[in-house]
């Protein structure tokens, strides 16, 4: 069964989503002091530079690990595995639902900025990976694994 365009497109979109995440982390690092002050308000001046740097490195490290995992999932999707496809769609569903809830409550303006771009990427990932060809390819009949084929022998 040849790889359908929807699967290749879905994997590519997940990679683009990773790039959007990298851009988001880079923007955060560049405006770290400002972001701290926005979030913490009056407590921000009490934090010394070393602590602020440590927190930043922790956030960047955690973000990098998540993005790395997502990039690996994209490769697995491209190779035709099913569970990474499901997992990525679960994450996308949560992300879209969260954005929708914030938008509905009126907290979040969705204009042409990074938020709308990531939302659009999430939705395009969902459309591509949930399409019939992508589903059929990820769930195509495969050679049974050797473990499953071995008859129940004395080693059980």
């Amino acid at each position: 069964m040849p790889r359908p365009a929807a699967t290749a497109m879905g994997a590519l979109l997940v990679l683009l989503r990773v790039l959007a995440g990298v851009a988001w982390l880079a923007a955060l690092a560049a405006t770290w002091r400002q972001a701290l002050e926005d979030e913490l308000g009056e407590f921000a001046p009490e934090i010394d530079a070393a602590t602020a740097d440590a927190v930043l490195w922790f956030v960047l490290g955690a973000g990098a690990i998540i993005l790395l995992v997502e990039a690996v999932l994209a490769v697995l999707i491209f190779l035709g595995a099913n569970w990474p496809r499901i997992l990525v769609m679960v994450f996308a569903t949560l992300s879209i639902s969260g954005t929708f809830a914030a938008w509905w409550a009126g907290d979040q303006e969705l204009t042409l900025d990074l938020t709308l771009v990531t939302l659009a990427l999430d939705i395009l990932v969902m459309l591509a990976l949930s399409s019939r060809p992508a589903r059929a390819y990820a769930r195509r009949p495969r050679e049974p694994r050797r473990r499953g084929r071995r008859p129940p022998g004395p080693g059980r």
Partner: protein
Amino acid sequence: MSEQGMAGRSRSRRFSLNAVLDQFFFVYAGLAAIWLAYLLASETFAFGWWGILVFVAFWALLAYLVLPRVHRVLTTIYVPDYFMGRTRTSDGLFGDPVNLAVVGGEAQLLAAMDAAGWTRADDVTLASSRRIITSTLTRRSYDEAPVSPLFLFGRKQDFAFQQEVAGNPAKRHHVRFWRCPDDWLLPGGARVDWLAAGTFDRAVGLSLFTLQVTHKIDADTDVERDHIVRTLRDSDAAIEVDVLKDFSTGYHSRNGGGDTIRTDGDLPVIDVRAVATTAGSVVAP
């Protein structure tokens, strides 16, 4: 309990959970895409001239992702999936009418079409897609251009043939063929090996249902049907044609692109069993 039995049971349970999740994601993605289309449409007017680009993105999203997904979900619910003389588009909408049947083997059918002046359409691949773009840009003709997929018996056509019209890429004769399932009989009991849908593309336009760019077909599908039968008959005297009168009652309808269709309902059954297939036996007099 053996290890294998447990593995087998957990596997079947996981797969049904998968199916439920997949159905959910399929519908959820459609709803999310409708929301995204709304967001893009509301942004169109906030960007001045750049809004035109946002509007194009909105149209592309709507036509190629949202509406097909909506039609797919709705037709799965409402349209029963059995033979009713119409092909289906990949979105589940009704497509071109089935208006020809063939008795005979694949090699004979291919040889007969070839001899009657028809060109087999390429499959849709990366290479053929690239060639469509280059031939459009350079205004060169591409006789073997692929045709869009239509579905019958839940399958894409097995192959398609076409004839160009005087170098005009917007107009062409084309006919798609499907092999019937084994032991499958037409309504009424006739046994045929192939069914075909032949229509004439008269222009390029927008589909009424999905807003996609597509070929508009000529409403009188009987003209194209009779053209196909005539070219086959004229090219080889061994081909016999039997007509099932009023096979589908003459109906007025629309195809998947929203074009009107008119037919008298006759179904010609083309018998190609006597067609010679080896190159040596097709000898000019």
